[in-house]
């Protein structure tokens, strides 16, 4: 029984069957990659996991509880953090404030009316945020506006924000999309480091095979909205079905 259990999930947009009979089990403390050609339904599947979309059929269980019908913020409070394809951070806020918000969210829940105490007096949150920034090698940027940082730094900050919540499952949506090779390798190293340092399950949606094969312990190949194979990375490479899905039948 995995920490995330997807059973028979189907989703239709008008005439397009985006997902059909998707079954997926992500084992606790593993790195599970979901790959597939464009239009395979990877993003749709991810959106079904985080509450952005509600599947037409099937169930999605996280740690024995259904996530269906819950809002994104409720699902986050259950222990799932999401990293977006283009880094989503609070651009108008400082790096330090960016780091404090998720910490407040995990400490105080989805709403708390703390309107008169000052942020700087919340020493436990401040200290933890400082330490997270140290861990992410961003302590020198703490007073910078987050929007002014490079893309690689924004990605690093976003991952740091998600980690500060000590999520049980970290979902990454093409974390290296549009990145230069050096930035991609940095991100891979960062994720490896994260996996080494803490008990965390990572599910990663990725296009870049280099990233997938350097990180994943388990790979699910999605094609035309349905899982083709699920196997260890070394078996995926040589699998003819996978090659066919990516390159077409003639290959």
């Amino acid at each position: 029984m995995g920490i995330l259990e997807v059973k028979n999930v189907g989703k239709r947009f008008g005439g397009l069957q985006a997902l059909s009979e998707v079954n997926l089990s992500v084992a606790e403390n593993s790195v599970h990659a979901i790959i597939g050609p464009n239009g395979a339904g990877k993003s749709t599947l991810l959106n079904c996991l985080v509450g952005k979309l509600i599947p037409d059929t099937g169930s999605v269980m996280f740690d024995g509880q259904s996530v269906l019908g819950r809002s994104p913020f409720e699902i986050n409070q259950m222990g799932i953090s999401r990293v977006f394809q283009t880094p989503e951070i609070f651009g108008d806020l400082t790096v330090m404030e960016n780091m404090m918000i998720p910490i407040f969210a995990s400490r105080d829940g989805s709403f708390r009316m703390h309107a008169v105490e000052s942020v700087v007096s919340e020493s436990e949150v401040v200290d933890y945020a400082e330490q997270m920034l140290e861990d992410m090698n961003m302590a020198d940027k703490r007073h910078m506006h987050a929007a002014a940082m490079s893309r690689g730094d924004k990605r690093r900050l976003e991952i740091g924000m998600c980690l500060s919540q000590k999520p049980r499952l970290l979902l990454l949506d093409e974390p290296t999309a549009g990145m230069a090779r050096a930035d991609t390798n940095n991100t891979i190293d960062l994720l490896k480091q994260i996996k080494e340092d803490r008990d965390i399950t990572i599910a990663i949606i990725e296009h870049d095979m280099h990233v997938v094969f350097s990180l994943a312990e388990r790979i699910t190949v999605l094609a035309q909205g349905t899982p083709l194979v699920e196997d260890a990375p070394e078996n995926i490479k040589g699998n003819p079905k996978v090659r066919e899905a990516y390159l077409g039948e003639s290959a």
């Binding site: 609070f90 651009g91 404030e97 998720p102 989805s110 309107a115 008169v116 942020v119």
Partner: protein
């Protein structure tokens, strides 16, 4: 100081000094001089500066922090005024219960309107708030006449019960709003040479409330709650996926700013105990948007400055007439004098809106951060100049 860091404490002290010494600061010209018409240090106008300052501070908590542009905030101002006048009619002429009821009532209205309007964001939210405010204006103007006084407005009468006070004074007049025996219109005058300074109790009462309102706004800006509101403006999607529910935060901000508006409305009624539906008209809602943008959206002191600037122009520029213009330009040759007066005339008197419009355009285009940004640019320019001068001096010294 008071749980504020140094910068905020300085800001609070500046506002406190400005408010407390306003009768001097706003009356720089001696009585009877040609410039005396630019004096703004009379109670009526100073009260308006402060009351609209409170209104704009509250509006800025919603608009400046969350980015939700309400176009119907005058509705809460009106609710506050009506509630206060009803307190004067039914309970007593003491302003404290009137203010308390006004803040509660406007908070309740804001809760209802905010709950519905906040289902949408952006332009749709603005239109919803505008629609609500116009509905309330129309209701107050017609069907609700028994409660609001309709076209004539809600006024005090000699036969009002005032169960804790008196229906009429021994002389048979309607009593005036007061605070434990002191009347809001009580004034003292200080004459120094040809200067006359007026100290009005009502003004100082409003001034103290402005300081409290400003202090509370600083605390909200610096609190985790305020940080969440800024996060809503910055990236609502990220906030959602970070485990925060933005809805109660925006609703709380909406209700708080509605209560500020109600407080301002109650103070208006306390200074002059009547309330009319025109206070809820959409132009009044637009005015507070202008004040906030002119002063600086999302800054602490901006809305206060913006409110002061607009009210000053409304009252001072609109009072200039063509005779005054002719006396100013009398030194010019006749034909030229008439020409200059003709050019300037559309911008004064009833044309003060034209002046306001031009200033507003210039600020939005060249100083998007409002008057506050203007101040920051000037101070950084001065600092640079001083630094350069020091540089030059330190370079020349070794040569000696």
């Amino acid at each position: 100081m008071l749980g504020l860091d140094k910068k905020d404490a300085v800001l609070l002290v500046i506002v406190a000094v400005l408010t407390m010494f306003a009768p001097f600061i706003l009356n720089p010209f001696p009585e009877g001089s040609a410039m005396a018409q630019f004096n703004a240090g009379y109670p009526d106008l100073m009260q308006r500066f402060v009351i609209f300052g409170i209104f704009a501070i509250g509006f800025n908590i919603l608009f400046g922090l969350t980015g939700y542009l309400s176009f119907g905030h005058a509705a809460f101002l009106g609710v506050g005024s009506y509630a206060a006048v009803w307190m004067f009619k039914l309970l007593s002429m003491n302003v404290i219960p009137a203010i308390v009821l006004a803040v509660i009532m406007s908070g309740l209205f804001a809760l209802l309107i905010g709950y519905i309007s906040l289902r949408r964001s952006g332009i749709y939210f603005s239109i919803l708030t505008l629609a609500f405010a116009q509905m309330m204006f129309a209701l107050a103007y017609s069907v609700l006449t028994p409660i609001t006084g309709g076209e004539t407005g809600l006024q005090l009468a000699l036969d009002d019960p005032r169960i804790l006070g008196q229906s009429q004074t021994p002389e048979g007049n309607i009593p005036v709003p007061g605070l434990f025996g002191f009347e809001m219109r009580d004034s003292a005058e200080l004459v120094i040479g040809s200067w006359v300074f007026t100290f009005n109790l009502g003004y100082y009462f409003c001034g103290v409330i402005l300081l409290l309102a400003f202090y509370l706004a600083i605390r909200i800006f610096r609190s985790p709650f305020g940080m969440m509101l800024r996060a809503i403006k910055s990236n609502q999607q990220r906030l959602n996926y970070t485990g925060i529910n933005p809805k109660p935060y925006t609703l709380a901000a909406f209700v708080i700013s509605g209560m500020y508006a109600g407080l301002a409305g109650a103070l208006m009624a306390s200074m002059d105990p009547l309330a009319g539906a025109e206070r809820m008209f959409w132009t009044a809602s637009g005015e507070v948007v202008l004040m906030t943008i002119l002063g600086g959206v999302g800054t602490l002191i901006g809305p206060v400055l913006g409110a002061g600037a607009i009210k000053y122009m409304e009252n001072i520029i609109s009072k200039i007439n063509s005779d005054i213009l002719h006396s100013w330009f009398a030194f010019l040759p006749d034909g030229l004098e008439d020409f200059v007066v003709t050019i300037v005339y559309p911008f004064i008197g009833k044309g003060w809106h034209l002046t306001l419009g031009i200033i507003f355009m210039l600020v939005v285009i060249f100083l998007p951060g409002g008057l506050v940004e203007g101040g920051q640019r000037i101070s950084s320019w001065l600092r640079n100049r001083r630094a350069r001068r020091d540089d030059r001096r330190s370079k020349t010294e070794p040569a000696e």
